[in-house]
Amino acid sequence: MSKRAIDDSIEVERYELFAEPEYDFNFDVARRDFFKLLGGGLVMVFVLPAFAQESGQQGGRRAQGEATPKEVGGWLHIDEAGLVTVYTGKVEFGQNIRTSLSQAVAEELRVPISSIRMTMGDTDLTPYDMGTFGSMTTPRMAPQLRKAAIAAREALIELAAEHWKTDRASLTVADGKVISSRAKQSLEFGKLTKGQKLLKVISDAAAPAPASEWKIAGTSVAKVDGRSFVTGKHRYTSDIKREAMLFGKIVRPSSFNATLVSADTKEAEATAGVRVVRDGNFIGVTAPDARTAARAASMVKTEWKAEPQPSAKELFDYLRKQSTPPRQNAEQGSIAEGLARADKKLELTYTVAYIAHAPLEPRAAVAEWNAGKLTVWTGTQRPFGVRSELADAFHIPEERVRVIVPDTGAGYGGKHTGDASIEAARLAQAAGKPVKLVWTREEEFTWAYFRPAGVIDISSGVQNDGTITAWEFHNYNSGSSGIQHRYDIPNNRIVFHQTKSPLRQGSYRGLAATANHFAREVHLDELAHLVKMNPLEFRLKNLKDERLKAVLVAAAKAFGWDKAKTADRGFGISGGFEKGSYVATCVEIAVDRSSGKVKIVRAVTAFECGAIVNPDQLKNQVEGSVVMALGGAMFEAIDFDNGRISNGRFSRYRVPRFSDVPIIETVLVDRKDLPSAGAGETPIVGLAPAVGNAIFDATGIRLRSLPMTPNG
């Protein structure tokens, strides 16, 4: 099995990227090459100046069977009817980049949004891309596509100048046409190539338009293909049908880390149309319909062997005990000195539970083999990563694997791996027919991966005037995203401790920034109360970062932080920074004294991510982050016992619903002077600590574990 090399920029908690493939098959499939075709018109290829920028995996497995050159950042094609097709390896999961990237191209190419089509996440048609995660689409992909569009625009002007035998300076571009003021004529883009196919490769282009001059970007363009979703026409992976397609079902182990000892498949195999496939620890069935497949799988009698495994009740002790010495344990300044100068000291522990992404569309894949070439439709955030996984699992070059990602029913960081793809492909290979595999909700809750649980110890010192003098922060397991604070503290030791996780864990929207902000921002609130300061003033006193100050002040102002509150209500505030953007959240909670139930009444989020690309869709992302954060803050937790998940269904695992949602207000701070940062993740980090602080404000009870009200 190969170890995949990992880009240094990937946060350590993306554990799933380090994982060995689940299965190791042993097959030899005949080689077959394939070719790509593009029609007439203008093709503009943008080559990355610094080629390593967007391609994480150097050498190793990417060197062989390279199907797409990784130095290409994006390409676009303007056909003879003027239709612009943009090719990007990014994928659409509801974060709405199909729209925001269309805006970027439309802006620079000066065409209406309606003439742009985005071809996304197809490993045969789109340039290599590391994956759609880490809020990188807006800061990295959008500028690349802008440059391709600028270069295309310039090339079209050049063609028009030749056509009219005039100088370029007299030509302008608008609404999909080149316009000659001198000749008082215009020519549509599609006509300029005169039936030829022009291929141009560029590595740089003129600077994109500054945000202050944006006309299409910066506006609330509606979701570009919204109609196909509200009519039910859009085909997600699980909606795809192929000729002669069978349905697959995997026989799951009795617990995690189990080895298959024996399997009696006779009864299943006696069922008409059923085939059982066993390959090492892999055992699955195919059948002409989904129910027969499920029934046949349940007929397979298996015996599995597994060692005893830790359970949820011993989780936090386990994480601490299993930790390995950290790679860096450096101190800035001196903690001892900082504590010596403090008037008051605090030493406290915070914990976060494992939670599930629970995207409403469970993992699914449709796999089809044709003459040794494998095509898989699946909802993954890493189409090229899954192509590598498939090539690995089946011992074939990547060029004989095509992964196509239909716009997907969300992922939130949970769909990086190719589990369902590999399983479907293995079944399809055995059956000699296309196979669809759709995980059940229980499978999604069990065999996917979880947001890491974690233990965080903080030890700090503060002076009576509110100056923080020492900050020691140890995070066990949950990860290092957002672990560094923005406060002005002279003495720090901030350490991430890797440890053994009882459950398979990986990326989640915002990664560990949620855990680290929860611990930090609750702890700051505790310090503020210790020195009897207003929690907002306390933060501002210890801050020099103007952008963080700005969102804290903006949130507090919109919320009415200084206003009086009624009985049994509490106010809480938090602030944070991650992935280039800043967030501050104020919440108001109501406590029912008799039942002890807590209701979040109002949540005000101020968010700043540089120049805003699409204000309404950005608001939608902030609101969605608040709702999603609410689940992890209040009641979501994966319960497990000896290698089994105990609450792996929606009737046992509570997710936020309509009645949980507070009044959500969003203040967008538009910084047209700053580059746009991604925005789908960071707004999630502010809610939990603000709620915890509000609960303390109302009740005097300090909650230091997420979820805070597991039974509420």
């Binding site: 999961f93 509801g94 974060q95 709405n96 509606a222 979701k223 919204g226 109609r227 979703f229 509200v230 009519t231 039910g232 026409k233 859009h234 085909r235 997600y236 699980s238 909606d239 049908k241 319909d289 989904a290 129910r291 992404h357 629970a358 995207p359 409403l360 569309e361 469970p362 716009d407 997907t408 029913g409 969300a410 939130y412 759709v438 059940t440 909700r441 309404d616 869709q617 939608n620 992302q621 609101e623 969605g624 982050s625 608040v626 709702v627 999603m628 269904r649 929606f650 009737s651 997710v655 936020p656 619903r657 309509f658 009645s659 949602v661 959500i664």
Partner: protein
């Protein structure tokens, strides 16, 4: 096992051949290729599979096709007519009440059922009625807005 050979779906009588205990959702999706209704949980907890049976919002994943036979079934595919969106579909677009869109058909069908019973629901009535539908992207406030907009648009004899 009794077999169901005909379903009355979206105004048409359609031939099927399904064991009567199969889920209505699987017959709609796999046999009739009406894939707008989604699988989300298989236990009637998320609402992604919501269809109307004689006008009542029903979780098709926990409804047997036998129980649906002979009744008037309406799925998301029937709402757009002659290229015109249902007012609630239009309101979803106007309010940007979706992100990944996977819950959207079920949300819209639940909303249509609500509006047919209560043409002018207040916010609390909407929340109570929609509580069984999950949106993991968290567009709930926008869905409430969309239902209220649609109620407005449907006033005065709209559909």
């Amino acid at each position: 096992m009794q077999r169901i050979t005909e379903l009355f779906v979206n105004g048409s009588r359609l031939r099927v051949d399904a064991a009567s205990d199969r889920s209505l959702l699987s017959v709609l999706r796999d046999d009739l290729d009406l894939t707008g209704s989604k699988y989300g949980c298989g236990e009637g907890q998320c609402g992604a599979c919501t269809v109307l049976i004689d006008g009542v919002a029903t979780r098709s994943c926990v409804t047997s096709v036998g129980a649906a036979a002979g009744k008037k079934l309406t799925t998301i595919e029937a709402l757009e007519q002659n290229g015109r969106l249902h007012p609630l579909q239009a309101a979803f677009l106007e309010a940007d009440a979706l992100q990944c869109g996977y819950c959207t058909p079920g949300m819209i069908m639940s909303g249509v059922a609500l509006l047919s019973k209560n043409p002018n629901p207040n916010e609390q009535e909407i929340i109570r009625s929609m509580e069984g539908n999950v949106c993991r992207c968290g567009t709930y406030p926008r869905i409430v807005t969309a239902i209220r907009k649609a109620a407005q648009a449907m006033k005065g004899g709209g559909k």
